[in-house]
């Protein structure tokens, strides 16, 4: 039943890999550091001759290097936060869906409560208590991502629980944790992978939004969000300061989104 990997999946995956590796490797090719100030070229528009391919910002820092640094940060946070969401979401969803009864009710009420929290207040609370560190940001983002994943996995698990091979495993005497790990999780893997791929762009956007507001990644560190915040302030005089990080953000989110769609199409017919 293996279907050949469709073109769309391969193209998107390639683009992502290229961009990610570029963001790690290319800055070494430039002699500018992310925090280096070039007083000779303050707020210079993109020019090859000046040695700043994407221009510089208000403080003379090379935008090329900073943007790529921002890409690194955004991708890393997006992927890590998604990973954390998947782990928590699958665990909570599978346990709730399989055990049912009071455990299910308790866990789902928890999910409902977290869903209804005003998100920004929650983030502010976290950053105030933990300080404005990448850890706080990661926690804040992951705390949101797992909720929907848990609901999806719970629904899938409830359907799986009725299937005869799960009954057969119980009849053999397989323990509940072993059933969850060996039988349930692999069979929800399809929808989970697809959903995770769609979660990554939304978490990247979330991080950018928080950084834009000043709650996320702080100066002098760069993230696509805070770069765009600075760029927005200089929009009329130096539009490249917004356009460069903005296009990168849009591009990454778009590519990951297309990848997620393509994965869903590829996985679904097999799962049917």
């Amino acid at each position: 039943m293996r279907v050949a990997v469709p073109l769309s999946v391969r193209v998107c995956a390639t683009v992502l890999v290229v961009v990610a590796s570029a963001s790690v490797v290319l800055p070494y090719l430039s002699h500018w550091q992310a925090a280096t100030l070039d007083w000779d070229h303050v707020a210079v528009s993109p020019s090859w001759s000046a040695g700043h391919v994407f221009g510089t910002d208000r403080l003379g820092r090379d935008l090329f290097v900073r943007t790529l640094a921002g890409v690194r940060v955004s991708l890393a946070i997006g992927l890590l936060a998604t990973l954390v969401s998947v782990v928590i979401g699958v665990t909570v969803g599978a346990v709730a869906g399989f055990l049912g009864g009071r455990t299910d009710a308790l866990l789902m009420r928890l999910v409902d409560v977290l869903y209804s929290l005003p998100y920004i207040f929650f983030v502010i609370l976290l950053t105030v208590s933990l300080g404005r560190s990448p850890l706080a940001l990661l926690l804040a983002i992951a705390a949101v991502g797992w909720l929907t994943m848990a609901r999806v996995v719970r629904a899938q698990t409830q359907a799986l629980r009725q299937r005869e091979f799960v009954t057969a495993a119980r009849a053999i005497g397989v323990s509940t944790p072993a059933i969850l790990w060996r039988h349930i999780v692999p069979n929800v893997a399809g929808p989970v992978v697809v959903y995770a791929t769609l979660t990554v762009p939304s978490l990247i956007l979330l991080e950018s939004f928080l950084s834009f507001l000043g709650l996320g990644v702080q100066e002098p560190a760069a993230s696509l969000g805070n770069l765009m915040a600075q760029g927005a302030a200089e929009m009329e005089a130096a539009p490249w300061m917004l356009l460069v990080p903005g296009s990168f953000l849009v591009g990454i989110v778009l590519v990951i989104g297309i990848l997620g769609d393509a994965l869903r199409d590829w996985v679904d017919p097999r799962a049917r």
């Binding site: 039943m1 005869e164 009954t167 495993a169 009849a171 005497g173």
Partner: protein
């Protein structure tokens, strides 16, 4: 000689405990080592729920299930798992009873991982290969997945999985109902072969009266959760005492039916559960449910049994 399986007054229901709405209503029977008891009934008879209640897949509301000396209904956790080593189950839909993401090897080996955890993986594989050859599948099937196998082949894999722990009792829940006629006979003979060679006992659930005759020595006839009649197959099939058994046999033999078609509602008031469809019903049948009284291993629950 104590029976291998002793079921007493089993009540199984899905919902609040109590006899009202019970799917299996106070059923008792015994199975001795190495013999096959068939449980026959139509849809709604409770036969599948009986199988699940005995296997403790559904916890019975009331009653005892004593298997190989152990009170299954009172066991929990690891002790129940241990007791399950001697008990196995084969299900109706062979493809659905195998995890679609497990290879044949993984499926057949799973009981060994639970009941013989000290086995090394190559020892497990050896046991699986041996088991597969006993059900007529070569080692090339180890890496195959259920979706690439036919219904008959999947059922062989399921039987291999059931037999790998050398269980004393196998509960078969309509194992051939989803299979073609030509495959059915082979699967039944495979089960009979295991019985000859390993002395396995079977609790065989089916709706097919001809299958009963092929595989079973004794039969239990169920209707709406209660036992109507039981005895040896040759006795009951040749000279049924209960009107329902007689109706079943007559329908299967000649399709000549005189009984009224059942209303879908279950009988919940007093009296015999079969009263709505029985051609021999008397006023007494609506007042008091008949009791099962056993004489020489034969019993029927009827106030007006058919006399031989």
């Amino acid at each position: 000689m104590t029976a291998l399986l002793h079921v007493a007054n089993l009540v199984v229901g899905y919902g609040p405990p109590g006899r009202a709405g019970a799917v299996v209503d106070t059923v008792s029977f015994e199975i001795n080592a190495g013999e096959t008891l068939a449980v026959v009934g139509e849809s709604g008879s409770g036969k599948s729920s009986l199988a699940r209640g005995v296997a403790q897949l559904v916890r019975p509301h009331a009653g005892n299930v004593v298997f190989d000396g152990a009170q299954l209904t009172a066991l929990n956790g690891s002790r129940l798992v241990q007791a399950r080593g001697g008990l196995a189950m084969v299900f109706q839909d062979p493809v659905a009873s195998l995890d679609p993401r497990f290879t044949v090897e993984a499926s057949v080996a799973e009981p060994l991982r639970v009941h013989a955890p000290r086995l090394k993986s190559h020892e497990r594989r050896q046991a699986v290969v041996m088991m597969l050859s006993q059900v007529g599948l070569g080692p090339e099937y180890l890496t195959r997945y259920p979706h690439s196998l036919s219904g008959g082949q999947c059922q062989r894999v399921a039987i291999a999985r059931a037999m790998i722990t050398r269980p004393k009792l196998v509960i078969c829940d309509e194992p051939t109902s989803a299979l073609d006629v030509s495959v059915q006979a082979r699967i039944l003979m495979l089960l009979q072969q295991f019985q000859r060679e390993q002395g396995t006992a079977y609790l065989f659930i089916t709706h097919d009266l001809a299958v009963v005759r092929q595989v079973a020595a004794r039969v239990l006839v169920m209707y709406q959760g209660q036992v109507m009649e039981y005895g040896t197959v040759s006795d009951v099939w040749d000279a049924p005492r209960h009107p329902y058994t007689e109706l079943l046999l007559r329908s299967a033999r000649s399709f000549r039916v005189e009984a009224r078609e059942a209303a879908s509602a279950r009988v919940t008031h007093d009296g015999c559960v079969f009263q709505n469809r029985c051609m021999r019903a008397q006023p007494r049948c609506t007042l008091q449910a008949p009791t099962l009284s056993e004489v020489h291993g034969r019993a029927s629950a009827c106030w007006e049994p058919i006399s031989t």
